[in-house]
């Protein structure tokens, strides 16, 4: 069991999203940083589809009521585990009664906590993701609150093997001698610009606006949330006056309402949109995008659709290699600390 001592600003249970129901107007939800969740799940011996706890800007304080394997991936919240700095991007075995205290995110906006065995949260329409507005999924259909108690499922064999492979370090927790390559994470998250493809109505914007879109800097407004980032900066002008017919949107769609201020649609976006799409953020940069905070600047660089898919395939291969690497380390360390 995990007891919520302090919930933090917005902590919700999220998996890869509720897919297959957008035709009914049911949004996907799901984790904002899909890379962080997948890696966190691999680190604790889970399947990648397992849900974790996504935390935002101000993290929660949690108490573990039994020994369990956890991993925290994503932004650095200066987390303390029983007053000792808690390492990120590693499997960590926490002891019964241990307290994880996450503070403010120094860099980045969101982190994911995965637990070996997974959270015992019933799936609603094939997903454990929280749909706050409809009050379904996740923990009682809402963000976590003080005194909530989350049950954890029995650890898988992979989780038990990971526990066996850990090095005893300090008094309060055990962790691995290895972690996900900092260099790799740096390349993935420390991007000056987000790569963007031309959107379906790209050509309907004025030449000046398109120039500004690529060259100027935007800023995430305070109204930015899991539904979308509202951007302030150059006001984008459309040269066509007719309204377009509403059509499907996707994670990363950059639409421009009539006020000319673009919105990047994210995990809690609606299924259909009626605003012209100037661009589409490339999937490979969703993790970097998920880590932007309100108030931070954002710039775009152009990428072709075929390049975006090429990089996405490369990313998937990297992730597969990371998964094999983790499994290899676990096997190596199983008969004692490596």
């Amino acid at each position: 069991m995990i007891r919520i001592i302090e919930p933090g600003l917005l902590s919700t249970v999220q998996d890869e999203g509720r897919h297959g129901f957008q035709q009914y107007g049911i949004i996907t939800n799901g984790v904002m940083d899909p890379f962080a969740l997948r890696i966190a799940n691999y680190l604790v011996g889970n399947e990648e589809k397992e849900a974790g706890i996504e935390v935002t800007l101000t993290g929660p304080t949690l108490q573990f009521e039994e020994q369990m394997l956890i991993a925290v991936c994503g932004a650095d919240f200066s987390a303390l585990l029983d007053d000792e700095p808690m390492p990120l991007w590693r499997p960590v075995l926490v002891q019964k009664g241990s307290i994880l205290h996450m503070k403010f995110s120094k860099k980045g906006c969101r982190a994911v906590i995965a637990v070996g065995g997974g959270l015992e949260i019933p799936a609603v329409m094939n997903s454990q993701s929280t749909y706050v507005r409809a009050g379904i999924g996740g923990f009682k259909g809402r963000a976590l609150e003080k005194e909530d108690v989350l049950n954890v499922r029995t650890p898988s064999i992979q989780t038990q093997q990971t526990i066996k492979s850990l090095t005893k370090k300090g008094k309060t927790y055990w962790t691995s001698a290895w972690s996900i390559s900092a260099l790799y994470l740096n390349n993935l998250y420390e991007r000056e610009t987000v790569r963007v493809m031309e959107g379906r109505q790209y050509d309907e914007f004025s030449e000046d606006s398109l120039k500004e879109f690529w060259e100027e800097s935007f800023k995430l407004s305070p109204q930015s949330d899991r539904m979308g980032y509202r951007l302030t900066g150059p006001v984008l002008e459309r040269t066509v006056s007719e309204e377009m017919l509403s059509e499907a949107v996707s994670f990363g769609t950059i639409q421009v309402p009539s006020d000319g201020e673009p919105i990047i649609l994210l995990a809690d976006r609606q299924t259909i949109g009626g605003y012209p799409k100037i661009g589409q953020a490339a999937s490979v940069d969703f993790p970097a995008l998920a880590q932007k905070k309100p108030g931070e600047p954002l710039r775009f660089t152009k990428i072709s659709h075929s390049e975006a898919q090429k990089f996405l395939i490369e990313r998937e291969r990297d992730i597969r290699e990371l998964k094999w690497g983790i499994e290899f380390k676990v096997r190596l360390g199983q008969n004692g600390p490596a």
Binding site: Q22, Q23, I26, E247, A248, S250, T271, I272, I313, E316
Partner: protein
């Protein structure tokens, strides 16, 4: 049939049939959507139909060995789309929706009447007389975008949206009419409320009362009946 294919980001494709809304296009959209689902492509995650287009979200993890996942998906969909001149949609379901018009349930009924220079009774009569087609669902789970509103009922949205609209509220906005499935903010003119649940997440086979392609009619019920049915549906 006429269509165009275009990427929607790097993990979805959009099939566009037209920039118009009409019954024929709607039937094609529904027909093609049904065929894509029947094909059971292993890369297809989900199909999202709109007024005159369909998005197919695909799983890049199932397409890692191809040179261009988009090209493969586009080719398979072209094969399907070119295989027939017209696509027939499955027979429409007919759904009747009880509505308690006016009163607390429809605070804007008089405003809609006044705007159109008719009486409140005529608003109810015109609203219940028509048959509507559900073109698509969106905005909220189970929220229908329907065609078929009598022009005499068209009323602009409220200048100041309400912060909370109770579920089941039946409203008018411009040329559209619809029902709010969950409590949301919104700017529609509210003329009544239905006791029926439009969104029922525990029914995973049919999580929404309405589906794209349905024909719907509204019929008036009394305040008493409204509360009785609302109680029963809890």
């Amino acid at each position: 049939m006429n269509y165009s294919l275009e990427p929607l980001g790097d993990q979805a494709i959009l099939i566009e049939f037209s920039q118009e809304v009409n019954e024929w296009i709607h039937e094609q959209v529904q027909g093609v959507k049904g065929r894509i689902e029947e094909m059971g492509y292993d890369w297809a995650i989900e199909v999202v139909p709109a007024f005159a287009s369909i998005a197919v979200h695909y799983d890049i993890r199932k397409l890692l060995t191809c040179q261009s996942p988009y090209d493969l998906v586009a080719k398979e969909l072209s094969l399907l789309l070119d295989s027939k001149k017209t696509f027939t949609k499955k027979a429409s379901r007919e759904i009747n929706i009880p509505v308690f018009y006016g009163g607390k349930a429809g605070p804007d009924l008089d405003e809609v009447a006044a705007h159109n220079g008719i009486s409140a009774e005529e608003v109810v009569e015109l609203h219940t007389k028509a048959e509507y087609t559900v073109y698509m669902l969106g905005f909220a789970p189970g929220f229908p975008y329907v065609g078929g509103l009598n022009e005499k009922l068209a009323t602009p949205r409220k200048s100041k949206p309400r912060l909370q609209i109770p579920p089941g509220s039946v409203g008018i906005a411009g040329q559209q009419t619809g029902v709010y499935p969950i409590e949301t903010p919104g700017g529609w003119q509210l003329i009544g409320q239905t006791p029926e649940a439009l969104f029922r997440p525990m029914n995973e086979e049919e999580p929404t009362l309405l589906q794209a392609g349905d024909k719907i009619r509204f019929y008036a019920i009394s305040e008493e009946e409204f509360y009785e049915r609302q109680e029963r549906n809890k």
